[in-house]
Assembly symmetry: C2
Homo-oligomer: 312 residues x 2
Amino acid sequence: MVTQTVNEAIQAVDEKLRSVVASDVDLLTDASRHIIKSGGKRMRPRLVFLAYLAAGGQDVVEAVPLAAAIELVHTATLVHDDINDHSLTRRGQATVHARWGRTFALLTGDYLFTKVYEMMAPYGPAYNVVMADACVKLVEGETLQAAAAKSGQMDRETYKTIIARKTASLFEAAARMGAQLGGANQDMVNALSSYAHDLGLAFQIVDDILDIIGDPETMGKPVGGDLTKGAGAFVVQNGQHTDGTAVLEAPAEVDPIKAMLSRLRESGAVEIARMEAVQLADRALRSLADLPPSAARDEMQALAEAIVEREQ
Amino acid sequence: MVTQTVNEAIQAVDEKLRSVVASDVDLLTDASRHIIKSGGKRMRPRLVFLAYLAAGGQDVVEAVPLAAAIELVHTATLVHDDINDHSLTRRGQATVHARWGRTFALLTGDYLFTKVYEMMAPYGPAYNVVMADACVKLVEGETLQAAAAKSGQMDRETYKTIIARKTASLFEAAARMGAQLGGANQDMVNALSSYAHDLGLAFQIVDDILDIIGDPETMGKPVGGDLTKGAGAFVVQNGQHTDGTAVLEAPAEVDPIKAMLSRLRESGAVEIARMEAVQLADRALRSLADLPPSAARDEMQALAEAIVEREQ
Protein backbone atom coordinates (compact mmCIF):
# COMPACT_ATOMS: atom_id res chain seq x y z
CA MET A 1 0.00 0.00 0.00
CA VAL A 2 2.70 2.51 1.02
CA THR A 3 4.96 1.04 -1.64
CA GLN A 4 2.34 1.69 -4.28
CA THR A 5 1.61 5.22 -3.02
CA VAL A 6 5.31 6.05 -3.08
CA ASN A 7 5.87 4.51 -6.50
CA GLU A 8 2.99 6.52 -7.93
CA ALA A 9 4.38 9.67 -6.35
CA ILE A 10 7.77 8.93 -7.91
CA GLN A 11 6.09 8.67 -11.31
CA ALA A 12 4.57 12.07 -10.62
CA VAL A 13 8.08 13.35 -9.84
CA ASP A 14 9.29 12.15 -13.23
CA GLU A 15 6.41 13.95 -14.95
CA LYS A 16 7.04 17.08 -12.91
CA LEU A 17 10.73 17.02 -13.84
CA ARG A 18 9.93 16.59 -17.53
CA SER A 19 7.57 19.56 -17.52
CA VAL A 20 9.57 21.89 -15.31
CA VAL A 21 12.66 21.84 -17.56
CA ALA A 22 10.72 22.99 -20.64
CA SER A 23 12.35 26.06 -22.20
CA ASP A 24 12.01 27.89 -25.50
CA VAL A 25 15.73 27.18 -25.77
CA ASP A 26 15.21 23.70 -27.22
CA LEU A 27 18.69 22.48 -26.45
CA LEU A 28 18.12 22.97 -22.71
CA THR A 29 14.80 21.12 -22.83
CA ASP A 30 16.30 18.25 -24.82
CA ALA A 31 19.49 17.85 -22.81
CA SER A 32 17.60 18.14 -19.51
CA ARG A 33 15.01 15.55 -20.49
CA HIS A 34 17.77 13.28 -21.73
CA ILE A 35 19.46 13.14 -18.34
CA ILE A 36 16.13 12.94 -16.49
CA LYS A 37 15.07 10.03 -18.70
CA SER A 38 18.33 8.26 -17.96
CA GLY A 39 16.58 7.70 -14.67
CA GLY A 40 18.27 6.50 -11.54
CA LYS A 41 17.02 5.00 -8.34
CA ARG A 42 15.07 8.12 -7.28
CA MET A 43 16.32 7.45 -3.74
CA ARG A 44 16.01 11.08 -2.68
CA PRO A 45 12.35 11.56 -3.73
CA ARG A 46 11.58 8.21 -2.07
CA LEU A 47 13.02 9.58 1.18
CA VAL A 48 10.94 12.76 0.89
CA PHE A 49 7.75 10.74 0.53
CA LEU A 50 8.54 8.18 3.22
CA ALA A 51 9.53 10.88 5.72
CA TYR A 52 6.38 12.82 4.83
CA LEU A 53 4.20 9.77 5.45
CA ALA A 54 6.08 8.66 8.58
CA ALA A 55 5.53 12.16 9.95
CA GLY A 56 1.79 11.75 9.49
CA GLY A 57 1.39 13.60 6.17
CA GLN A 58 -1.94 12.74 4.54
CA ASP A 59 -1.57 13.55 0.83
CA VAL A 60 1.74 12.59 -0.70
CA VAL A 61 0.94 14.57 -3.88
CA GLU A 62 1.63 17.69 -1.82
CA ALA A 63 5.28 16.64 -1.55
CA VAL A 64 5.85 16.04 -5.27
CA PRO A 65 7.35 19.46 -6.17
CA LEU A 66 9.72 19.27 -3.20
CA ALA A 67 10.76 15.73 -4.10
CA ALA A 68 11.29 16.77 -7.72
CA ALA A 69 13.46 19.72 -6.67
CA ILE A 70 15.65 17.43 -4.53
CA GLU A 71 16.07 14.93 -7.34
CA LEU A 72 16.95 17.77 -9.71
CA VAL A 73 19.82 18.89 -7.47
CA HIS A 74 21.21 15.38 -7.79
CA THR A 75 20.61 15.38 -11.55
CA ALA A 76 22.40 18.72 -12.00
CA THR A 77 25.47 17.41 -10.19
CA LEU A 78 25.51 14.29 -12.38
CA VAL A 79 25.73 16.46 -15.51
CA HIS A 80 28.66 18.42 -14.12
CA ASP A 81 30.34 15.29 -12.68
CA ASP A 82 30.27 13.68 -16.10
CA ILE A 83 32.14 16.67 -17.54
CA ASN A 84 34.81 16.51 -14.86
CA ASP A 85 35.12 12.73 -15.10
CA HIS A 86 35.08 12.70 -18.92
CA SER A 87 32.33 10.07 -18.65
CA LEU A 88 30.74 9.12 -21.95
CA THR A 89 27.95 6.88 -20.65
CA ARG A 90 25.65 6.86 -17.65
CA ARG A 91 23.11 4.07 -17.14
CA GLY A 92 23.81 2.82 -20.62
CA GLN A 93 22.97 6.20 -22.21
CA ALA A 94 25.29 8.81 -23.65
CA THR A 95 26.06 11.53 -21.10
CA VAL A 96 24.97 15.12 -21.86
CA HIS A 97 28.66 15.88 -22.17
CA ALA A 98 29.16 13.13 -24.77
CA ARG A 99 26.10 14.08 -26.78
CA TRP A 100 25.97 17.89 -26.62
CA GLY A 101 29.60 18.69 -25.80
CA ARG A 102 31.22 20.27 -22.79
CA THR A 103 29.97 23.84 -23.15
CA PHE A 104 26.33 22.84 -23.35
CA ALA A 105 26.71 20.22 -20.62
CA LEU A 106 28.06 22.90 -18.31
CA LEU A 107 25.14 25.18 -19.18
CA THR A 108 22.61 22.34 -18.83
CA GLY A 109 23.88 21.61 -15.32
CA ASP A 110 23.61 25.32 -14.50
CA TYR A 111 20.13 25.41 -15.99
CA LEU A 112 18.95 22.46 -13.90
CA PHE A 113 20.26 24.14 -10.81
CA THR A 114 18.40 27.37 -11.61
CA LYS A 115 15.28 25.23 -12.07
CA VAL A 116 15.80 23.77 -8.60
CA TYR A 117 15.92 27.30 -7.30
CA GLU A 118 12.78 28.22 -9.24
CA MET A 119 10.91 25.22 -7.83
CA MET A 120 12.02 26.01 -4.29
CA ALA A 121 11.34 29.77 -4.47
CA PRO A 122 7.67 29.53 -3.38
CA TYR A 123 8.67 27.70 -0.18
CA GLY A 124 9.63 29.69 2.87
CA PRO A 125 13.00 29.97 4.62
CA ALA A 126 12.33 26.81 6.71
CA TYR A 127 12.77 24.78 3.54
CA ASN A 128 15.20 26.92 1.57
CA VAL A 129 17.73 27.17 4.37
CA VAL A 130 17.82 23.34 4.59
CA MET A 131 18.10 22.93 0.83
CA ALA A 132 20.76 25.63 0.42
CA ASP A 133 22.86 24.12 3.19
CA ALA A 134 22.72 20.71 1.50
CA CYS A 135 23.69 22.23 -1.86
CA VAL A 136 26.70 24.02 -0.41
CA LYS A 137 27.86 20.83 1.33
CA LEU A 138 27.38 18.84 -1.85
CA VAL A 139 29.69 21.08 -3.87
CA GLU A 140 32.23 21.10 -1.04
CA GLY A 141 32.16 17.28 -1.03
CA GLU A 142 32.64 17.12 -4.79
CA THR A 143 35.55 19.54 -4.51
CA LEU A 144 37.24 17.55 -1.74
CA GLN A 145 36.84 14.44 -3.88
CA ALA A 146 38.35 16.12 -6.95
CA ALA A 147 41.24 17.44 -4.83
CA ALA A 148 41.86 13.97 -3.37
CA ALA A 149 41.78 12.42 -6.82
CA LYS A 150 44.26 14.98 -8.08
CA SER A 151 46.67 14.58 -5.19
CA GLY A 152 46.22 10.81 -5.07
CA GLN A 153 45.86 11.17 -1.29
CA MET A 154 42.81 10.00 0.59
CA ASP A 155 42.67 8.90 4.18
CA ARG A 156 39.68 7.46 6.02
CA GLU A 157 38.68 10.79 7.58
CA THR A 158 38.73 12.59 4.22
CA TYR A 159 36.65 9.83 2.65
CA LYS A 160 34.07 10.10 5.41
CA THR A 161 33.90 13.88 5.06
CA ILE A 162 33.45 13.52 1.30
CA ILE A 163 30.59 11.03 1.44
CA ALA A 164 28.91 12.91 4.28
CA ARG A 165 28.86 16.08 2.21
CA LYS A 166 28.36 14.86 -1.32
CA THR A 167 25.75 12.18 -0.56
CA ALA A 168 24.47 12.10 3.03
CA SER A 169 23.71 15.85 3.15
CA LEU A 170 21.13 15.66 0.35
CA PHE A 171 19.63 12.42 1.71
CA GLU A 172 19.27 14.18 5.06
CA ALA A 173 17.73 17.30 3.51
CA ALA A 174 15.22 15.13 1.65
CA ALA A 175 13.99 13.47 4.84
CA ARG A 176 14.09 16.69 6.85
CA MET A 177 11.95 18.63 4.38
CA GLY A 178 9.59 15.70 3.82
CA ALA A 179 9.13 15.42 7.58
CA GLN A 180 8.54 19.17 7.92
CA LEU A 181 5.95 19.13 5.18
CA GLY A 182 4.25 16.12 6.78
CA GLY A 183 3.88 18.07 10.02
CA ALA A 184 6.46 16.28 12.13
CA ASN A 185 7.47 17.70 15.50
CA GLN A 186 11.14 18.56 16.06
CA ASP A 187 12.04 15.16 17.56
CA MET A 188 10.56 13.34 14.60
CA VAL A 189 12.31 15.68 12.14
CA ASN A 190 15.61 14.96 13.87
CA ALA A 191 15.07 11.20 13.96
CA LEU A 192 14.16 11.06 10.27
CA SER A 193 17.12 13.29 9.37
CA SER A 194 19.55 11.06 11.29
CA TYR A 195 18.12 8.01 9.61
CA ALA A 196 18.56 9.52 6.16
CA HIS A 197 22.06 10.78 6.88
CA ASP A 198 23.30 7.33 7.91
CA LEU A 199 21.42 5.74 5.04
CA GLY A 200 23.23 8.13 2.68
CA LEU A 201 26.63 7.15 4.07
CA ALA A 202 25.82 3.43 3.75
CA PHE A 203 24.44 3.97 0.25
CA GLN A 204 27.61 5.72 -0.93
CA ILE A 205 29.93 3.09 0.53
CA VAL A 206 27.96 0.36 -1.22
CA ASP A 207 28.11 2.44 -4.42
CA ASP A 208 31.88 2.60 -4.15
CA ILE A 209 32.05 -1.15 -3.45
CA LEU A 210 29.92 -1.89 -6.51
CA ASP A 211 32.26 0.23 -8.61
CA ILE A 212 34.94 -2.28 -7.68
CA ILE A 213 33.17 -5.62 -7.69
CA GLY A 214 29.96 -4.92 -9.62
CA ASP A 215 28.87 -6.56 -12.84
CA PRO A 216 29.20 -3.98 -15.66
CA GLU A 217 26.03 -5.35 -17.31
CA THR A 218 23.94 -4.87 -14.16
CA MET A 219 25.51 -1.49 -13.41
CA GLY A 220 25.07 -0.03 -16.89
CA LYS A 221 28.53 1.54 -16.72
CA PRO A 222 32.13 0.37 -16.73
CA VAL A 223 33.35 -0.77 -13.31
CA GLY A 224 36.55 0.57 -11.82
CA GLY A 225 35.80 4.06 -13.12
CA ASP A 226 35.66 5.58 -9.69
CA LEU A 227 39.04 4.17 -8.78
CA THR A 228 40.63 6.44 -11.35
CA LYS A 229 39.09 9.47 -9.69
CA GLY A 230 39.66 8.40 -6.12
CA ALA A 231 36.06 7.76 -5.11
CA GLY A 232 36.59 4.11 -4.39
CA ALA A 233 39.12 5.11 -1.83
CA PHE A 234 37.22 3.94 1.19
CA VAL A 235 37.53 0.45 -0.04
CA VAL A 236 41.01 1.20 -1.28
CA GLN A 237 42.26 2.55 2.01
CA ASN A 238 41.04 -0.58 3.74
CA GLY A 239 43.05 -2.58 1.24
CA GLN A 240 46.32 -2.84 3.03
CA HIS A 241 48.53 -5.80 3.64
CA THR A 242 49.05 -6.62 7.30
CA ASP A 243 52.48 -4.96 7.09
CA GLY A 244 50.77 -1.70 6.13
CA THR A 245 51.88 -1.60 2.51
CA ALA A 246 49.11 -0.81 0.10
CA VAL A 247 47.67 -3.54 -2.08
CA LEU A 248 47.26 -0.91 -4.73
CA GLU A 249 50.76 -0.86 -6.09
CA ALA A 250 49.80 -2.41 -9.34
CA PRO A 251 52.47 -4.32 -11.22
CA ALA A 252 53.55 -2.17 -14.13
CA GLU A 253 53.19 -4.85 -16.78
CA VAL A 254 49.37 -5.09 -16.69
CA ASP A 255 46.44 -2.64 -16.88
CA PRO A 256 46.85 -0.91 -13.48
CA ILE A 257 43.11 -0.49 -12.89
CA LYS A 258 42.44 -4.17 -13.55
CA ALA A 259 45.30 -5.12 -11.29
CA MET A 260 44.01 -2.87 -8.53
CA LEU A 261 40.53 -4.32 -8.82
CA SER A 262 41.82 -7.84 -8.68
CA ARG A 263 44.00 -7.16 -5.65
CA LEU A 264 41.22 -5.29 -3.88
CA ARG A 265 38.80 -8.14 -4.44
CA GLU A 266 41.33 -10.52 -2.92
CA SER A 267 42.47 -8.27 -0.06
CA GLY A 268 39.35 -8.41 2.08
CA ALA A 269 39.00 -4.61 1.81
CA VAL A 270 35.60 -4.98 0.17
CA GLU A 271 34.32 -7.06 3.07
CA ILE A 272 35.55 -4.49 5.58
CA ALA A 273 33.81 -1.69 3.69
CA ARG A 274 30.60 -3.67 3.44
CA MET A 275 30.70 -4.28 7.20
CA GLU A 276 31.04 -0.56 7.72
CA ALA A 277 27.98 0.00 5.50
CA VAL A 278 26.00 -2.57 7.49
CA GLN A 279 26.89 -0.80 10.74
CA LEU A 280 25.73 2.53 9.32
CA ALA A 281 22.48 0.96 8.12
CA ASP A 282 22.01 -0.45 11.63
CA ARG A 283 22.50 2.99 13.11
CA ALA A 284 19.94 4.32 10.61
CA LEU A 285 17.48 1.66 11.80
CA ARG A 286 18.01 2.66 15.43
CA SER A 287 16.97 6.26 14.58
CA LEU A 288 13.64 4.88 13.37
CA ALA A 289 12.94 3.34 16.78
CA ASP A 290 11.96 6.77 18.15
CA LEU A 291 9.19 7.17 15.59
CA PRO A 292 5.59 6.06 16.04
CA PRO A 293 4.92 2.77 14.20
CA SER A 294 3.63 3.20 10.65
CA ALA A 295 3.67 1.48 7.30
CA ALA A 296 6.08 4.18 6.08
CA ARG A 297 8.44 3.44 8.97
CA ASP A 298 8.38 -0.26 8.05
CA GLU A 299 9.20 0.69 4.47
CA MET A 300 12.15 2.79 5.63
CA GLN A 301 13.38 -0.14 7.65
CA ALA A 302 13.20 -2.38 4.59
CA LEU A 303 15.00 0.29 2.55
CA ALA A 304 17.95 0.41 4.95
CA GLU A 305 18.20 -3.38 4.84
CA ALA A 306 17.97 -3.47 1.04
CA ILE A 307 20.57 -0.77 0.49
CA VAL A 308 23.44 -2.79 1.89
CA GLU A 309 22.37 -5.84 -0.11
CA ARG A 310 21.91 -4.13 -3.46
CA GLU A 311 23.91 -5.21 -6.48
CA GLN A 312 23.35 -2.16 -8.72
CA MET B 1 25.75 62.37 -0.63
CA VAL B 2 23.87 59.53 -2.34
CA THR B 3 27.02 58.72 -4.29
CA GLN B 4 28.98 58.38 -1.07
CA THR B 5 26.25 56.30 0.61
CA VAL B 6 26.11 53.95 -2.36
CA ASN B 7 29.89 53.67 -2.64
CA GLU B 8 30.13 52.76 1.04
CA ALA B 9 27.39 50.18 0.61
CA ILE B 10 29.30 48.68 -2.34
CA GLN B 11 32.37 48.38 -0.13
CA ALA B 12 30.17 46.54 2.36
CA VAL B 13 29.07 44.22 -0.49
CA ASP B 14 32.71 43.39 -1.22
CA GLU B 15 33.30 42.58 2.45
CA LYS B 16 30.12 40.50 2.58
CA LEU B 17 31.17 38.57 -0.51
CA ARG B 18 34.62 37.89 0.91
CA SER B 19 33.18 36.54 4.14
CA VAL B 20 30.28 34.56 2.71
CA VAL B 21 32.47 32.39 0.47
CA ALA B 22 34.62 31.16 3.37
CA SER B 23 34.74 27.35 3.45
CA ASP B 24 36.85 24.76 5.23
CA VAL B 25 37.62 23.58 1.69
CA ASP B 26 40.42 26.11 1.19
CA LEU B 27 40.45 25.85 -2.57
CA LEU B 28 36.86 27.09 -2.77
CA THR B 29 37.61 30.03 -0.47
CA ASP B 30 40.74 30.96 -2.41
CA ALA B 31 39.28 30.62 -5.90
CA SER B 32 36.10 32.47 -4.89
CA ARG B 33 38.00 35.35 -3.31
CA HIS B 34 40.26 35.51 -6.34
CA ILE B 35 37.37 36.14 -8.73
CA ILE B 36 35.64 38.49 -6.25
CA LYS B 37 38.86 40.49 -5.87
CA SER B 38 39.15 40.78 -9.65
CA GLY B 39 36.35 43.26 -9.08
CA GLY B 40 34.18 44.67 -11.76
CA LYS B 41 31.90 47.64 -11.99
CA ARG B 42 29.46 46.35 -9.33
CA MET B 43 26.65 47.68 -11.53
CA ARG B 44 24.07 45.26 -10.13
CA PRO B 45 24.61 46.09 -6.43
CA ARG B 46 24.58 49.78 -7.41
CA LEU B 47 21.13 49.26 -8.94
CA VAL B 48 19.88 47.49 -5.81
CA PHE B 49 20.94 50.42 -3.64
CA LEU B 50 19.69 53.16 -5.94
CA ALA B 51 16.30 51.47 -6.40
CA TYR B 52 16.08 50.94 -2.64
CA LEU B 53 16.76 54.64 -1.99
CA ALA B 54 14.54 55.87 -4.84
CA ALA B 55 11.73 53.78 -3.34
CA GLY B 56 12.15 55.61 -0.04
CA GLY B 57 14.28 53.04 1.80
CA GLN B 58 15.97 54.58 4.83
CA ASP B 59 18.93 52.38 5.69
CA VAL B 60 20.91 51.11 2.73
CA VAL B 61 22.83 48.67 4.95
CA GLU B 62 19.64 46.60 5.03
CA ALA B 63 20.06 45.93 1.31
CA VAL B 64 23.70 44.77 1.45
CA PRO B 65 23.06 40.99 1.62
CA LEU B 66 20.60 41.20 -1.29
CA ALA B 67 23.02 43.27 -3.35
CA ALA B 68 25.83 40.83 -2.56
CA ALA B 69 23.70 37.86 -3.65
CA ILE B 70 22.91 39.55 -6.97
CA GLU B 71 26.54 40.35 -7.63
CA LEU B 72 27.47 36.76 -6.77
CA VAL B 73 25.11 35.42 -9.46
CA HIS B 74 27.02 37.53 -11.96
CA THR B 75 30.35 36.38 -10.52
CA ALA B 76 29.38 32.70 -10.75
CA THR B 77 28.50 33.08 -14.42
CA LEU B 78 31.83 34.78 -15.12
CA VAL B 79 33.68 31.75 -13.74
CA HIS B 80 31.72 29.36 -15.96
CA ASP B 81 31.91 31.71 -18.98
CA ASP B 82 35.67 31.76 -18.72
CA ILE B 83 35.73 27.96 -18.92
CA ASN B 84 33.55 27.92 -22.01
CA ASP B 85 35.45 30.77 -23.65
CA HIS B 86 38.87 29.36 -22.71
CA SER B 87 39.67 32.82 -21.31
CA LEU B 88 42.95 33.06 -19.47
CA THR B 89 42.65 36.62 -18.15
CA ARG B 90 39.87 38.79 -16.79
CA ARG B 91 40.51 42.37 -15.72
CA GLY B 92 44.23 41.76 -15.97
CA GLN B 93 44.09 38.79 -13.55
CA ALA B 94 44.34 35.08 -14.30
CA THR B 95 40.89 33.48 -14.56
CA VAL B 96 39.93 30.77 -12.06
CA HIS B 97 40.06 28.39 -15.00
CA ALA B 98 43.61 29.43 -15.87
CA ARG B 99 44.85 29.26 -12.28
CA TRP B 100 43.01 26.27 -10.78
CA GLY B 101 42.11 24.30 -13.90
CA ARG B 102 38.79 23.44 -15.49
CA THR B 103 37.46 20.97 -12.92
CA PHE B 104 37.91 23.31 -10.00
CA ALA B 105 36.64 26.31 -11.98
CA LEU B 106 33.45 24.41 -12.73
CA LEU B 107 33.08 23.51 -9.05
CA THR B 108 33.89 27.09 -7.93
CA GLY B 109 31.12 28.43 -10.18
CA ASP B 110 28.73 25.85 -8.74
CA TYR B 111 29.85 26.76 -5.24
CA LEU B 112 29.24 30.47 -5.80
CA PHE B 113 25.78 29.68 -7.07
CA THR B 114 24.98 27.58 -3.99
CA LYS B 115 26.18 30.53 -1.89
CA VAL B 116 23.75 32.80 -3.74
CA TYR B 117 21.02 30.36 -2.82
CA GLU B 118 22.19 30.27 0.80
CA MET B 119 22.16 34.09 1.01
CA MET B 120 18.69 34.28 -0.54
CA ALA B 121 17.16 31.46 1.54
CA PRO B 122 16.12 33.69 4.47
CA TYR B 123 14.12 35.93 2.13
CA GLY B 124 10.54 35.03 1.28
CA PRO B 125 9.02 33.99 -2.04
CA ALA B 126 8.51 37.65 -3.12
CA TYR B 127 12.28 37.91 -3.52
CA ASN B 128 13.23 34.35 -4.42
CA VAL B 129 10.73 34.08 -7.28
CA VAL B 130 12.24 37.23 -8.85
CA MET B 131 15.80 36.02 -8.35
CA ALA B 132 15.11 32.49 -9.62
CA ASP B 133 13.42 33.83 -12.73
CA ALA B 134 16.42 36.03 -13.49
CA CYS B 135 18.81 33.11 -12.97
CA VAL B 136 16.86 30.85 -15.35
CA LYS B 137 16.79 33.59 -18.00
CA LEU B 138 20.49 34.22 -17.56
CA VAL B 139 21.43 30.62 -18.30
CA GLU B 140 19.03 30.55 -21.25
CA GLY B 141 20.69 33.68 -22.62
CA GLU B 142 24.15 32.18 -22.23
CA THR B 143 22.99 29.02 -23.97
CA LEU B 144 21.48 30.95 -26.90
CA GLN B 145 24.75 32.83 -27.21
CA ALA B 146 26.83 29.65 -27.19
CA ALA B 147 24.51 28.10 -29.78
CA ALA B 148 24.76 31.19 -32.00
CA ALA B 149 28.54 31.20 -31.68
CA LYS B 150 28.66 27.54 -32.64
CA SER B 151 26.37 27.89 -35.64
CA GLY B 152 27.92 31.19 -36.69
CA GLN B 153 24.36 32.47 -37.13
CA MET B 154 23.06 35.48 -35.27
CA ASP B 155 20.32 37.81 -36.43
CA ARG B 156 19.19 40.99 -34.73
CA GLU B 157 16.25 39.31 -32.96
CA THR B 158 18.43 36.57 -31.53
CA TYR B 159 20.96 39.13 -30.34
CA LYS B 160 18.24 41.09 -28.58
CA THR B 161 16.86 37.97 -26.92
CA ILE B 162 20.35 37.04 -25.76
CA ILE B 163 21.18 40.38 -24.17
CA ALA B 164 17.71 40.68 -22.63
CA ARG B 165 18.16 37.34 -20.89
CA LYS B 166 21.84 37.23 -20.07
CA THR B 167 22.22 40.86 -18.93
CA ALA B 168 18.96 42.83 -18.67
CA SER B 169 17.15 40.18 -16.60
CA LEU B 170 19.61 40.41 -13.70
CA PHE B 171 19.74 44.22 -13.91
CA GLU B 172 15.94 44.22 -13.71
CA ALA B 173 15.88 41.77 -10.79
CA ALA B 174 18.37 43.96 -8.93
CA ALA B 175 16.19 47.04 -9.22
CA ARG B 176 12.97 45.13 -8.56
CA MET B 177 14.22 43.57 -5.32
CA GLY B 178 15.89 46.80 -4.18
CA ALA B 179 12.62 48.64 -4.77
CA GLN B 180 10.62 45.97 -2.91
CA LEU B 181 12.96 46.15 0.05
CA GLY B 182 12.76 49.95 0.05
CA GLY B 183 8.99 49.74 0.36
CA ALA B 184 8.01 50.87 -3.15
CA ASN B 185 4.42 50.53 -4.32
CA GLN B 186 3.73 48.41 -7.41
CA ASP B 187 3.95 51.34 -9.85
CA MET B 188 7.34 52.36 -8.51
CA VAL B 189 8.59 48.76 -8.60
CA ASN B 190 7.53 48.52 -12.24
CA ALA B 191 9.08 51.86 -13.20
CA LEU B 192 12.40 50.97 -11.56
CA SER B 193 12.36 47.50 -13.15
CA SER B 194 11.76 48.97 -16.62
CA TYR B 195 14.55 51.47 -16.10
CA ALA B 196 16.99 48.73 -15.09
CA HIS B 197 15.97 46.43 -17.93
CA ASP B 198 16.65 49.08 -20.59
CA LEU B 199 19.82 50.12 -18.81
CA GLY B 200 20.97 46.49 -18.98
CA LEU B 201 20.34 46.31 -22.72
CA ALA B 202 22.23 49.56 -23.32
CA PHE B 203 25.05 48.42 -21.04
CA GLN B 204 25.50 45.15 -22.93
CA ILE B 205 25.47 46.81 -26.36
CA VAL B 206 28.15 49.24 -25.20
CA ASP B 207 30.10 46.29 -23.78
CA ASP B 208 29.99 44.59 -27.15
CA ILE B 209 31.04 47.82 -28.89
CA LEU B 210 33.99 48.22 -26.51
CA ASP B 211 35.05 44.67 -27.30
CA ILE B 212 35.48 45.87 -30.88
CA ILE B 213 36.88 49.37 -30.54
CA GLY B 214 38.13 49.52 -26.94
CA ASP B 215 41.68 50.14 -25.86
CA PRO B 216 43.08 46.83 -24.50
CA GLU B 217 44.99 48.73 -21.79
CA THR B 218 41.85 50.45 -20.48
CA MET B 219 39.78 47.28 -20.78
CA GLY B 220 42.23 44.99 -18.98
CA LYS B 221 41.56 42.24 -21.53
CA PRO B 222 42.27 41.60 -25.20
CA VAL B 223 39.77 43.28 -27.53
CA GLY B 224 38.03 41.31 -30.24
CA GLY B 225 37.64 38.30 -27.93
CA ASP B 226 33.86 38.38 -28.07
CA LEU B 227 33.87 38.39 -31.85
CA THR B 228 35.24 34.89 -31.79
CA LYS B 229 32.30 33.73 -29.67
CA GLY B 230 29.64 35.71 -31.46
CA ALA B 231 28.81 38.19 -28.73
CA GLY B 232 29.84 41.21 -30.74
CA ALA B 233 27.23 40.24 -33.25
CA PHE B 234 24.94 43.17 -32.70
CA VAL B 235 27.63 45.40 -34.00
CA VAL B 236 28.59 42.78 -36.52
CA GLN B 237 25.14 42.36 -37.93
CA ASN B 238 24.90 46.09 -38.44
CA GLY B 239 28.13 45.88 -40.34
CA GLN B 240 26.83 45.33 -43.83
CA HIS B 241 27.74 47.02 -47.05
CA THR B 242 24.89 48.87 -48.73
CA ASP B 243 24.50 45.92 -51.12
CA GLY B 244 23.78 43.69 -48.10
CA THR B 245 27.02 41.71 -48.19
CA ALA B 246 28.67 41.38 -44.82
CA VAL B 247 31.77 43.41 -44.05
CA LEU B 248 32.94 40.43 -42.06
CA GLU B 249 34.37 38.34 -44.84
CA ALA B 250 37.92 38.83 -43.73
CA PRO B 251 40.62 38.53 -46.37
CA ALA B 252 42.35 35.20 -45.83
CA GLU B 253 45.89 36.57 -45.89
CA VAL B 254 45.72 38.47 -42.56
CA ASP B 255 44.63 37.71 -38.98
CA PRO B 256 40.87 37.39 -39.55
CA ILE B 257 39.88 38.91 -36.19
CA LYS B 258 42.08 41.96 -36.78
CA ALA B 259 40.67 42.32 -40.25
CA MET B 260 37.10 42.11 -38.97
CA LEU B 261 37.79 44.70 -36.30
CA SER B 262 39.32 47.05 -38.80
CA ARG B 263 36.45 46.69 -41.25
CA LEU B 264 33.83 47.03 -38.52
CA ARG B 265 35.44 50.21 -37.27
CA GLU B 266 35.28 51.61 -40.78
CA SER B 267 31.79 50.35 -41.67
CA GLY B 268 29.75 52.63 -39.43
CA ALA B 269 28.27 49.59 -37.64
CA VAL B 270 29.70 50.75 -34.35
CA GLU B 271 27.96 54.11 -34.67
CA ILE B 272 24.63 52.42 -35.43
CA ALA B 273 25.00 50.18 -32.36
CA ARG B 274 25.91 53.12 -30.18
CA MET B 275 22.83 55.00 -31.40
CA GLU B 276 20.73 52.00 -30.43
CA ALA B 277 22.30 52.06 -26.96
CA VAL B 278 21.55 55.78 -26.64
CA GLN B 279 17.90 55.15 -27.53
CA LEU B 280 17.64 52.43 -24.89
CA ALA B 281 19.23 54.70 -22.31
CA ASP B 282 16.68 57.38 -23.26
CA ARG B 283 13.86 54.91 -22.75
CA ALA B 284 15.39 54.04 -19.35
CA LEU B 285 15.37 57.73 -18.46
CA ARG B 286 11.69 58.04 -19.40
CA SER B 287 10.81 55.27 -16.91
CA LEU B 288 12.33 57.41 -14.18
CA ALA B 289 9.92 60.26 -14.94
CA ASP B 290 7.13 58.43 -13.09
CA LEU B 291 9.12 58.35 -9.85
CA PRO B 292 9.00 61.04 -7.16
CA PRO B 293 12.07 63.30 -7.37
CA SER B 294 14.99 62.19 -5.18
CA ALA B 295 18.76 62.32 -5.08
CA ALA B 296 18.77 58.59 -5.94
CA ARG B 297 16.63 59.24 -9.02
CA ASP B 298 19.10 61.93 -10.14
CA GLU B 299 21.91 59.45 -9.67
CA MET B 300 20.09 56.85 -11.78
CA GLN B 301 19.66 59.45 -14.49
CA ALA B 302 23.37 60.22 -14.44
CA LEU B 303 24.12 56.48 -14.55
CA ALA B 304 22.07 55.97 -17.71
CA GLU B 305 23.85 58.89 -19.35
CA ALA B 306 27.28 57.65 -18.26
CA ILE B 307 26.72 54.09 -19.42
CA VAL B 308 26.54 54.98 -23.09
CA GLU B 309 29.61 57.19 -22.79
CA ARG B 310 31.83 54.76 -20.94
CA GLU B 311 35.12 53.60 -22.41
CA GLN B 312 35.75 50.54 -20.23
